[in-house]
Symmetry: C2
């Protein structure tokens, strides 16, 4: 194990050097407003002269907080979470917080373990994705007074803070739009719905739109597969291998949709001429793929930023749960068009 290094300066050393008490030095560092300017100058000079930086453990134990905020996300490899966490992190850095990040790979058990680890590592508050998890986790967090903010979804629990959007309604709107263009036959490529409430809601929204149009939602085949371009490709092939190709392929996110477009193109099909494909999220990939993807724009960055703001105020001011529902927006590009039968 690594030793503590040459004996580093402590608060007391700084206090001595500045000719004040440790209390004053501590206040200089934590509540500079409470110290006179003259004293503060002296102290800060001593701080930088000694190159002092406070001992973390001591501070954590004395103040009973760490300034660390945890985020447990499904993966950093999807640009939406990378974006969101980047914004979350930036928001907290502005408030002198730091972000502890871990990804669960969409596995609930992993997630539960990581949440406990974060708490054991001193996280003052936690960002979680989606609402669905073992109730024991919520109890665990409540017992320890660790505030949480949920993002990417809205919670039904009135005491749960969140910054989310309505996955179901957004999906329903997009599919209804496609139905309005004439689509009548569908297939769906989704992430596994059993352990992913957002994915499930998106499928439910699509079904709802189909049902509302007087069509048979149960007839829509669904391929469940983890989010990746490659999986999108193979899911498309799987769908294309069945009797008749649907006119619209509804994808759980843009990554799957990009894979589907690639596979369709590779199979010699024209998108959207032979088959329309829609996504969800609106990441950069959606504009780079050809044809560009029609999708739902989710304000990921704003969500991350607001989640940071919200979590901070919960930790700092023990604020009442803040519940923010953001708007999504349909983005029409080239991968969705009226089906052949309509032309």
């Amino acid at each position: 194990m690594v030793s503590t290094g040459r004996n580093l300066p402590t608060l007391e050393d700084v206090a001595r050097a500045a000719g004040v008490s440790t209390a004053t030095v501590s206040r200089c560092l934590n509540e500079p407003g409470k110290v006179s300017e003259k004293t503060r100058d002296h102290v800060m000079q001593a701080v930088s002269k000694l190159n002092y930086s406070p001992n973390f453990g001591a501070r954590a134990i004395a103040a009973n907080r760490t300034g660390i905020f945890g985020a447990v996300i499904p993966t950093m490899e999807n640009a939406i979470f990378a974006r969101g966490i980047e914004a979350f992190q930036k928001s907290l850095v502005e408030k002198n917080g730091t972000t502890l990040v871990a990804s669960s790979a969409y596995d609930p058990e992993n997630e539960a373990r990581l949440i406990r680890t974060m708490v054991a590592r001193g996280a003052d508050g936690l960002l979680l994705i989606g609402t669905e998890r073992d109730p024991e986790i919520y109890t665990f967090l409540a017992d320890r007074n660790i505030p949480t903010v949920i993002a990417w979804a809205c919670s039904a629990d009135p005491n749960q803070a969140y910054v989310g959007f309505d996955n179901r309604a957004a999906s329903e709107r997009l599919v209804a739009h496609a139905i309005g263009m004439g689509h009548r036959t569908f297939a769906c490529i989704s992430a596994p719905t059993a352990t992913n409430d957002r994915a499930r809601d998106r499928v439910l929204g699509a079904r709802q739109a189909i049902t509302t149009a007087g069509l048979d939602a149960a007839a829509m085949p669904i391929v469940e597969t983890d989010y990746s371009i490659e999986n999108g490709r193979s899911a498309f092939r799987q769908i294309a291998a069945t009797a008749s190709l649907p006119s619209l392929i509804i994808c759980g996110n843009d990554v799957l949709a990009v894979g589907a477009i690639q596979a369709a193109t590779a199979a010699g099909l024209d998108v959207p001429g032979d088959v329309s494909i829609i996504g969800f999220d609106d990441i950069e990939l959606a504009t780079v793929i050809s044809p560009a993807l029609t999708t739902v724009h989710v304000p990921h960055r704003e969500m991350g930023r607001l989640a940071g703001d919200t979590l901070y105020s919960l930790v700092k001011d023990a604020a009442e749960p803040i519940r923010i529902e953001l708007e999504t927006r349909l983005v029409e590009r080239q991968s969705l068009a009226a089906p052949k039968s309509m032309r």
Copy 2:
């Protein structure tokens, strides 16, 4: 401020419940081999009965370590860092570590501040990107015995651990390959080289290849701009606006290259017919853009994973600095072809 929650059990509570001293309980938790089986059973029973979990701050101060590993990266929005950090994090989770992440937006001052913050937040070790930074930072870290691993580049300092690759050599190889195909006129789109050693090395590599071929490297115009697709587009326009279009555009990374391809296509140019464009990194975008991008593949995930392993062993075993140079690989796709003059 949030209170500590209902008074949670302490080591002492557990000791009392198990009828032993706090030292024994501590040993049960940290070095179970040193305690007799009978005692251990008693203690563990008390632990789970009281639902005890050790206080983070107290542990940190007493043990002088936290199990927290920091990573200060330029941005999470570029897939390469998202990938790398994901792998880094995964490697450390396996070893019961947790990852503190912050992004500096390629700003050295930000980076310096974030490094200090991470240390102040108890990071046992740090992952940094690139070698170039204020020497004071290295002193600061050395004074505090905080091991660091550098990734994405190789350090000349024999005491500095790293897991990197040779940006310069990789770039030189790719450009030499293009020259071999007949290219004689060049332009370059790069991230600002003043504050980014990787970007600078890539430009140097390109220049080297040009010089080696007996051509005039100084004649190559360079547009410096932050990494983003949009900036790649406008940089291309800027280059295209000059007298004669070069046959090869060398981009500092894939993101810029994708933008350049889009702008070229939008301007009615054929890539690679009218102009060849090459990137660096090999991210997903490179395969999704059309024409697919010829680029240098960098093993980002492996780099992240190895950086995690390395950092852990430095912290844990105070191992000698481990220095790993990974191989990059040229990936030939469609955006590079022999120039018109050669056909």
